[in-house]
Assembly symmetry: C2
Homo-oligomer: 420 residues x 2
Amino acid sequence: MTKKNLLYAQSGGVTPVINATACGLIETARQNRDRLGKVYAGKDGIIGILKEELIDTSKERKADIAGLRHTPGGAFGSCRFKLKGIEENHAEYERLIDVFKAHNIGYFFYNGGGDSSDTAHKVSQIGKKMGFPVQCIGVPKTIDNDLPVTDNCPGFGSVAKYVAVSTIEASLDVESMASSSTKVFILEVMGRHAGWIAAAAGLAAREDGDPPHVILFPEVPFKQREFLKKVKHAVENYGFCTIVVSEGVRNTRGKFLADAGTRDAFGHAQLGGAAPVVAGIVREKLGYKYHWAVSDYLQRSARHIGSKTDVEQAYAVGSAAVEMALEGKSGVMPVIKRLSNKPYKWEIGETTLGRVANVEKMLPKNYISVDGFGITAAARRYLGPLIHGEDYPPFDPDGLPKYVKLKKILVPKKLPDFDL
Amino acid sequence: MTKKNLLYAQSGGVTPVINATACGLIETARQNRDRLGKVYAGKDGIIGILKEELIDTSKERKADIAGLRHTPGGAFGSCRFKLKGIEENHAEYERLIDVFKAHNIGYFFYNGGGDSSDTAHKVSQIGKKMGFPVQCIGVPKTIDNDLPVTDNCPGFGSVAKYVAVSTIEASLDVESMASSSTKVFILEVMGRHAGWIAAAAGLAAREDGDPPHVILFPEVPFKQREFLKKVKHAVENYGFCTIVVSEGVRNTRGKFLADAGTRDAFGHAQLGGAAPVVAGIVREKLGYKYHWAVSDYLQRSARHIGSKTDVEQAYAVGSAAVEMALEGKSGVMPVIKRLSNKPYKWEIGETTLGRVANVEKMLPKNYISVDGFGITAAARRYLGPLIHGEDYPPFDPDGLPKYVKLKKILVPKKLPDFDL
């Protein structure tokens, strides 16, 4: 039996630990050289596969592959590109199979969120139908933490840790100055549809009265009067108020606050920035001095404050995906199963791609406090363990992290060009 | 000889390491109990002294004082409050001396920037004049790095490290997605007058072509055409462009870009946010997909990624201030003297408050590259060592940093109230 090659691709928005998954996958494949061929990676995700731009990871140094464990971003490149339905766009699926055939691919690993599971699912079906069956395995990843079945998603824990730590730190800053200066601090975090990241900021509050005093979730329509009451209460009782606002928070008419009519110098709608809008409301109605921050990509790439739990889980799903391939499985995805909360224990489980594709796991209602501005004990029990432990990257003597840059040498092309 | 008490106050915007200075000062004073009395600290800075709200640090646990070394914010509270000239406001100076007398204060330590040096200087003069001489010692601190005489200012190195690390990390994120998604990332950093922090982001670029590709300094008037050319060049040559913009960047008419006509939902000028303005220009003129972040207080409080060099220097100036007091000095300030660059060596020196008061050290012209969008080798030589080494705070098992909260027990008041 000739050994088949593996093909790995990163998909969608990257995370601080998606490369840790790549590391787990490649290292595990290398440990099984007797049964597995080379690991190729799509350059810039599935677009690279369609263009037959395959990175040969066997050309990378062992130390660099190991270094992926602590390097943020997507080392092979990623993309936002959703394959259409098989009926609408048969050509793209056929092309994938052609590339698989040309490069003796036996295993396809798609590392992404819900869309990617859907794609991997379809690819596994079309391969069979076209007489070139490839074992397709989804590998979970998303800072949005919105995949079903899996207890949590690799990537989320590190973002959660960054956001909780930053909330504590910035609040200590505001608190120091509040008696005579800034009284309100607003931190905007990601989360267009689900408030998982905003909820994680709630972990910063370990005692009653601790910041954040107000969390604005995308799940809770923004009610200005209640919000202002809450802010005023915090300032009057604690001297200051820390607000964490999800980028996806909407007003009662369902419109994003971030798009609520702000105009730039040219009179065009200013996109993005729920924090400055909230700041404007605080100034207008309460007159408090404020500061605001928008963490944007910083939160999604801050590997320097990665969660050890998250890094271990990210590595484990990559490794498990290869084990599943070795067991002959297809159309499956490794998931994280929580065994206990105290002490926190988890293991890798398995689900089918069909169960994951196109389902969004929203923040449960009982994770949001009754007044809509905080998290509950249940949320705390769920979120808490995901930020456990620190996993610092190594640093160079110049004081900067030692993040790896891969050589990304492409496998020679064998097929004609393909128009995307 | 009865022992005199020490009075310490934090002043102005806090830093990730101002408490490390407090730690050095209090620990050194405690080591000299035979000659020194208690260390009191003004609650919320000099305002607390005027109000006779003095925190008795002898009531704090030894472990908590030690924990100040790794706790961001201002543990005793700070304020933005500049005493007026002695002629205009004699009453406030008299009040200070009254408080000093009432609490047997022999040493006053003012931990702040240029304004604070000026205040400490004036207090030392008035004390003598009023027949109650107090040894007044300034202790340097400012993330703005704009104090003269001292080679650098405690606080700046940690902010510099945060900004450089964040620039690297966010750039890895953008680079991963740039082929099909976001091509331009804009990070706004502090610096209203001087571009020290923006310059520090330049340390992220270790090789030609590395991000940040464009730095916008407050020292260089924003020229839109040259800026756009530079952004286009980066996108066309590296696939993406990382821009670091100082909050204080101005247009050629001297107006802050952050105030360049943005209007909120109510039609009021939207304050703050140079990054979204720059993003708007990129979208308008080049059409690239972009993301922007405003780090604001996050950069100023991110003790979790503190510079070891900075922490050691912050501690050292606090300790040295007490040594100077013990040597009978007044009207002085410990400064950092650079002895060599390779290897980086420094020691504590001394200057007089008169030389520091009201002088701003601007970014030297030869630190900014000829095109105005980057830093030079000279800047790199100066800035590099300031971010050397990591100094992580301890973390609790819950995954959050173990920052200390002081008891802040006040010394009983002895004087009538004073109207501020």
